[in-house]
Subunit: 244 residues, 2 copies
DNA sequence: ATGTAGACAAGTATAGGACAAGTGCGCCAG
DNA sequence: CTGGCGCACTTGTCCTATACTTGTCTACAT
């Protein structure tokens, strides 16, 4: 047994919810039904459901049942899956609208810090989910790798596939800020409303940084979920650090 | 024999783990299984596993099993340590100022969902770094565990130490919002300025949720860092999900 | 010092069951 | 048509039992 049974069931339910099988606030099958379909005891099914409840994906009412906590389409993006893959599973459009595609001789300071002083390709795009904008993404990539890419390439495929070299580790930084006028307009939210900002430095397998990306999400639409398999020795959220 | 048997086994297990045979928090074969496959006694297998435990590669729980401790997210989060330890390393003071300490007969709905309907202890505090506030923290804890705690206890020690039962996993949700008037005043920031909000459900080793906590940080002071040891198959930040 | 073999205690996961309490719905008496 | 009752079904909470796991110990061989 590689995993506990209730975790397998929780994973499967999470996946099924992600595929929209249980719609907006709809009821899930009863514990008895799930127990039968998974061929597991009710205790085990309950443990799986309770874990999903801890994650905020479902709620329950005695005598009534278990139901998806929020809108299924958005709910679909469970746990550590990626948004595009989840949307694809839903058959929903996850369109990448390219806003800007240009080579910069002198990148911003932060990008130079990571990628070095050379020229870079900067691509700015708007990610759409189900017809609505949900992220403004900017990607910086060294000239060397970006030179062979076309605007059409970038619109069609994820960036990482186009680079053509194996990726290694990445460092992801999550912060918050007030929306700039520009981002607010693109995302259809009021200026200065809160946004989540995720900066990511992706490195090649050999360790050299090859991509810097910044994702801006409306705060009311998005949140990050991190599973910690053993609780940290502190009440403070893990991974947090003070900046500047 | 140039090497001891248990060192050979430890080396082999280390190699197998390095090849990803036991990924992220997955269970290893039981001591009995390993004993059979390596044709060694259980004691010897244990010595090998204990060596790996000393190296931080695996953990174990009685009655459950051995599992790989190499979850990239958790590892990096753990490595970063807590804010308090960072402050201590910088020679800065950190203080916990208790704002409120009371028992609630009927907790908020979200807390009831996780902890159950019973009464809870709610502690609200202001975390200070170098004399400046940097977090408003609210912790909910079942009456059962909170009954023996005093206000002084909570001010002195981290909550997790006071509960006195071993902690298991946790689920951490990171989002952003505009600061409420109350939080803004406590943190010394303008109302509606962006804040990072981290909700955390901490479970005991046996899986029962025992703590719900909410941390509110000023966005300009704080960010989360997540290390991914192998880049995800998407440009989208890992762990993100859309909500409501 | 290292390894083998075995026995026992303590903890975990799961199955299966019983019962209480809450919900929704149809039926029936009025 | 309406109100109330009962029935079927649901979750919430307990219990026992079993199989399996790690933790710990003793005895013995190399």
């Amino acid at each position: 047994m590689r995993q506990t049974r209730y975790q397998q069931i929780a994973d499967d339910l999470r996946r099924r919810m992600g595929e929209g099988e249980f719609g907006a606030g709809r009821l899930l099958p009863s514990e008895a039904d799930l127990s039968a379909t998974y061929d597991a005891s009710r205790v085990t099914v309950r443990r799986a459901l309770e874990q999903l409840r801890d994650e905020g994906l479902v709620s329950s009412r005695q005598g009534f049942g278990w139901f998806a906590a929020t809108d299924p389409v958005r709910q679909s993006l469970g746990r550590l899956g990626t948004i595009e893959s989840q949307l694809a599973a839903d058959g929903l459009s996850s369109e990448r609208r390219i806003l800007d595609f240009r080579f910069l001789a002198t990148p911003p300071a932060r990008v130079r810090e990571v990628l070095g002083p050379g020229p870079v390709l900067r691509v700015r795009r708007l990610n759409m989910a189900d017809g609505h904008p949900f992220a403004v993404v900017t990607v910086w990539c060294p000239d060397q790798y970006g030179a062979e890419l076309s605007r059409a390439d970038v619109a069609r495929s994820p960036f990482y596939e186009l680079i053509g070299i194996p990726l290694g580790s990445a460092t992801q930084t999550i912060g918050a800020a007030a929306a700039s006028a520009h981002d607010a307009e693109l995302l259809g939210i009021p200026e200065h409303s809160p946004v989540l900002i995720c900066e990511r430095v992706t490195r090649a397998a050999h360790g050299e940084p090859i991509l810097v990306s910044e994702h801006v999400f409306p705060a009311h639409l998005t949140e990050f979920v991190v599973e910690l398999t053993h609780a940290d020795a502190s009440m403070a959220p893990s991974g947090l650090r003070l900046v500047e």
